[in-house]
Subunit: 217 residues, 2 copies
DNA sequence: TTCACAGTTTAGGCAGCACTAAATAATCTT
DNA sequence: AAGATTATTTAGTGCTGCCTAAACTGTGAA
């Protein structure tokens, strides 16, 4: 599998997780920041290799081996993120881009030794679960802050948009994974949410609220 | 710089270190395990980018920026080797291949943080010096076992052939970097050498002797 | 039901990096 | 110094992954 093929597989994997139906060519092209015709080319190659099932004009979905391969790449990505954060003291907004490169290193031994070195972490710095050696992992139970209920208390367990800007925003406001948050008020007008954590109150926009994942305590 | 370009630069760097004159197209092609015509193609590209100076039919040599770039790649390679050996418990015959991949990760921050994490090591598991952030390093003073003098005592400081088989041979005979070796006898007939270390005597072939580097104590 | 349009695929090209075969330059021999 | 040999380069090709432009498919609106 080439680097490009791995990236496409990963993109299909992420898109499948977002909406349960098949992945359209356009959606894939957009995710890959490329053109639909390029996506079609790659789709054919991946279908040829039995990594995806593909009916022209009907989108694609991962095959068993395709999903397994994608999960391996995701596992590597997330392990490297933990390594960068915990061992090399990267900040959580910096880890993603470097992990994008490291995830393509081909050495099962490396991956497993790294996993061991890190103490078999269960989640990455963004709260996403890390598959084990066999590809198994538990999805964390979570809802976005937008869907949280007024008056209840939650713990921050993940972020959806792992863009550097968003993570810096959270850093700047002292929100990190594990922060306990109480929902003070939900403003219907603009869907902003007033929250309270560490004895401070903060109003966050709908955009922020949608990208912050919580679990009720 | 693409992956292929980086590998060519590194190859030119290694060849320049071996013989001081310019690097011939054929030598480069052989080092890269490719054909001379492919080497010529790449030579043109690298010359275009001012990484090497090139006069057709006269071989190539690294420019200032080419050497600087090559040294950066070498630095990364050797740092990753140390990481794999010391942190992930790879054996010294396993580190090379994985480091070949890791050396191409593009992130100066990663390299420098890794260097720091490892405690700014001076040499890699094969005894080769690790350039610092600025590309500076000291060549270790060493002679091969073939050139060692009968009766004198040395310390093993490096290996030339970092092939897995050779390193396994050394492992199997309990020779590692730091081992103190006394030259008992040099056999003129086949250039084999009888050495003594850790109270055991061993006869090693010319091939082994040429690839083992020592420094006198 | 048909038409318009969005979504998708095909056709044809381009750049990177490899290859083979052929041409050319440098060097060695005698 | 000329021919033979070796080293190197050029020409032409294939493969990957991207592109644009054009053709095609499927669907929703009239």
């Amino acid at each position: 599998m080439t680097l490009a093929e791995e990236n496409y597989l990963k993109a299909i994997y992420h898109l499948e997780n977002q909406c349960n139906n098949g992945v359209s060519t356009n959606a894939l092209a957009e995710e890959m920041r490329t053109k639909a015709s390029s996506a079609t080319d790659m789709i054919k190659k991946l279908a040829e290799k039995n990594m995806i099932s593909y009916i022209p004009y009907q989108g694609v979905s991962l095959s068993k081996s395709g999903r397994s391969y994608a999960v391996k790449v995701v596992r590597k990505h997330r392990l490297w993120e933990v390594f960068l954060l915990e061992k090399l003291n990267f900040s959580w907004d910096e880890v993603h881009d470097v992990a994008e490169q490291l995830e393509h290193i081909k050495s099962e031994k490396l991956t497993d030794k790294l996993d061991e070195f890190l103490g078999f972490p269960k989640v990455d710095p963004h709260g996403d679960p890390i598959p084990d050696k066999h590809g198994n992992f538990e999805e964390v139970d979570k809802t976005s802050l937008s869907n949280a209920t007024k008056g209840l208390t939650y713990v921050c367990v993940g972020v959806d948009d792992s863009s550097s800007d968003f993570l810096k925003y959270l850093d700047g406001n002292n929100i990190s994974l594990g922060t306990t948050i109480k929902i003070i008020h939900k403003e219907p007008f603009d869907n902003s949410v007033k929250i309270k954590f560490n004895d401070v109150e903060l109003v966050v926009s709908q955009n922020v609220a949608k990208n912050l994942f919580l679990t009720e305590v």
